[in-house]
């Protein structure tokens, strides 16, 4: 059973469109991170959310932590080809204290 489920698994959109990626769990987390991994590179940390209901913005990317700290979303406004990549959420499993990664959303933005 995957502790962090991401949806959708794949997403292909046109440049300029908006999109939302979800990261869901039944566990409560003290914090959650989002990473982006470009082809041929390692994941790069985008943001850490800590407080329930917290919203953080990084240029055209908006991250939200659920009120109950069980889920998170990533919204991209006016997507660009440079946003193409694998988006991963990650958090510390409160049961095992192991850092776990989500299943990932592979995004492709077409010019």
């Amino acid at each position: 059973t995957q502790l962090l489920e991401q949806s959708p698994q794949f997403l292909s959109i046109q440049e300029g469109e908006n999109l939302t990626v979800y990261c869901n769990s039944s566990s409560v987390f003290s914090s959650l991170q989002w990473y982006r991994q470009e082809p041929g590179e390692g994941p790069v940390l985008l943001v850490t959310v800590v407080t329930g209901g917290e919203v953080k913005k990084l240029k055209r990317l908006t991250f939200q932590f659920g009120d109950a700290r069980k889920d998170s979303s990533l919204h991209i406004t006016a997507a660009q080809p440079g946003d193409t990549g694998l988006y991963l959420c990650a958090a510390m499993d409160p049961g095992t204290y192991k850092y776990i990664f989500g299943t990932g959303t592979r995004l492709k933005v077409l010019a």
């Binding site: 914090s31 959650l32 991170q33 041929g40 590179e41 390692g42 994941p43 790069v44 940390l45 850490t48 991963l88 990650a90 958090a91 510390m92 192991k98 850092y99 990664f101 989500g102 299943t103 990932g104």
Partner: protein, 112 residues
């Protein structure tokens, strides 16, 4: 240059050979990690280290050996490479071990 560096970037080796993947970080982070990334399995933790001379197994440690004699280096050795170890390997570091890792660019290993 500051950061986390992995070498080599690409490696082809034969079944049964020993191969070592190198990882070097310049921040003096306490924690270092080795992951492998495979389609359908995502990122899986192989080994991690909380400090020099302290290492522990992750999710998939079999067939791998690590050492950490210096804080900045964390090499991963495949003692006798198998085809199932063909993968992309990522090294990461973190000050706290609580998340927010910095990853290297990866080593793509092919075992033939």
């Amino acid at each position: 240059d500051a950061g986390i560096t992995q070498s080599p970037r690409y490696k082809i080796t034969e079944t049964g050979r020993q191969v070592t993947l190198m990882c070097h970080q310049t921040w003096s982070h306490s924690y270092m990690f080795w992951y492998r990334q495979d389609l359908g399995h995502g990122l899986r933790l192989i080994y991690y280290s909380a400090a020099a001379d302290i290492t522990d197994k992750g999710e998939v440690p079999d067939g791998y050996v690590v050492s950490r004699s210096k804080t900045e280096n964390f090499p991963l050795t495949l003692e006798s490479a198998t085809r199932s170890q063909t993968s992309v390997y990522f090294c990461a570091s973190s000050e706290s071990g609580q998340g927010g890792y910095t990853f290297g660019s990866g080593t793509r290993l092919t075992v033939v």
